[in-house]
């Protein structure tokens, strides 16, 4: 940090950087080294099969004080700045190298994306993402890393954010979600069946057959259903459009205007209620097996969500209040009860920077 003269060597008191700036840089260096060390420890634990646990830290609390939504919009504005044509390939290739994007899949030549924003939300060449044609499968709506999956058993069952911290599906999708109806129906059906089975085991099989027609029909004829979930994280370099996982009718859209915390692995481990507090759009509807919902959750750098079936929807808007998660902006698509029919693999939404 000392200025040196070729003749006289370092002289005391002649600094290139003021002391406070140097101290700040050193402090950030130490914090960064500590963070790298902790992340390395998490990687090593994972390799040993030990799952990292939820551990709130000071930095996570500090994030709540930052104007993350304003920062996100500023970031988005910067990313929309048109780049000179000659610089575009170099910039996009650097981005791709940093975030492991596959440039061979981009639908257009790199020179034709006017800004990083346009490049970020690029579409792909025809045939880059073949859709599994099995009518009995659900396909991934996005490119990304599977974080969690499983079955929700009984009303109010929680989805694990990370070991040691969970959130309810209802708080994610909204209190007015049709999920509650589906959950309760499945749960009560399961209990009805269990009680009838138990009864028939203890006494006699005909008790089932003489059960009221309503119960018998419900037990024997209606297929049993479970509620499943899958959480997928998109890296900054991933393709950021959302496709339909099945043939379904989108009946409702719910928009929660919330925080825009980062969503990386560390944030998932340290920020409480990350998915429930962040801005998100929920598409809810029906497929041939029942209820289905897709929740697209924004982050600081990727804060806006665009719906192809409702282009006028604006998210991450300046001045919009952070609404209570119980009171989202909701829209029922026409015709009521049927909504918008979407085919498996069709584009339904996209994430934008800022």
């Amino acid at each position: 940090l000392h200025a040196s003269s070729p003749n006289s060597g370092p002289r005391q008191g002649n600094f290139i950087l003021p002391g406070a700036t140097a101290a700040t840089i050193v402090m950030f260096g130490i914090l960064h080294a500590r963070r790298m060390y902790q992340d390395q420890k998490v990687v090593e634990m994972k390799e040993k099969g030990i799952e990292p646990e939820f551990s709130p830290d000071f930095k996570a609390s500090f994030l709540r004080l930052l104007p993350l939504r304003s920062m996100s919009r500023l970031w988005g504005s910067l990313m929309e700045v048109e780049l000179p044509v000659f610089m575009r390939p170099a910039i996009y290739k650097s981005w791709a190298r940093a975030f492991h994007s596959n440039l061979q899949e981009a639908a257009l030549p790199l020179e034709e994306y006017p800004s990083l924003q346009a490049f970020f939300i690029r579409s792909l060449k025809e045939g880059s993402r073949p859709i599994d044609a099995d009518p009995n499968c659900l396909v991934s709506p996005v490119d990304g890393k599977v974080l969690r999956l499983g079955e929700l058993r009984g009303p109010g069952t929680m989805i694990e954010q990370v070991k040691g911290f969970s959130y309810s599906a209802a708080s994610l999708l909204g209190a007015s979600s049709s999920l509650h109806g589906a959950e309760e129906e499945d749960f009560s059906r399961e209990h009805t069946e269990q009680s009838i089975r138990a009864d028939s085991n203890v006494k006699s099989w005909w008790r089932v057959s003489v059960a009221s027609p309503k119960l018998r029909d419900q037990t024997l004829l209606s297929p049993k259903k479970g509620i499943f979930y899958c959480v997928i994280y998109l890296n900054p370099g991933d393709y950021h459009r959302v496709h339909s996982p099945v043939d379904w009718h989108i009946i409702k859209r719910r928009h929660f205007s919330g925080h825009l915390f980062p969503q990386n692995e560390r944030a998932v481990r340290t920020i409480r209620n990350l998915y429930v507090e962040n801005e998100r759009v929920i598409l809810e509807g029906q497929w041939k097996e029942g209820f289905v919902a897709l929740a697209a959750i924004g982050a600081t750098s990727v804060g806006s969500i665009k719906l192809f079936i409702e282009p006028e929807l604006r998210t991450n808007r300046a001045g919009s209040k952070i609404l209570n998660s119980q009171r989202p902006d909701e829209r029922v698509y026409e015709p009521a009860g049927t909504g918008v029919m979407v085919k498996k693999g069709e584009e339904v939404a996209g994430f934008r920077m800022g």
Partner: protein, 43 residues
Amino acid sequence: STVVMVFEAPVSKAREDGRSVTTDFDFCIKAGDRIRVGEAIGR
């Protein structure tokens, strides 16, 4: 950014012994997998 899917799917056999659950629907992916649009997550 993150996407969460919640959906109903068939379950063939529910908690007969009070513990195990056999499902008709099966995930064909696991936590930690990389996945791309259009690839099956379950059948």
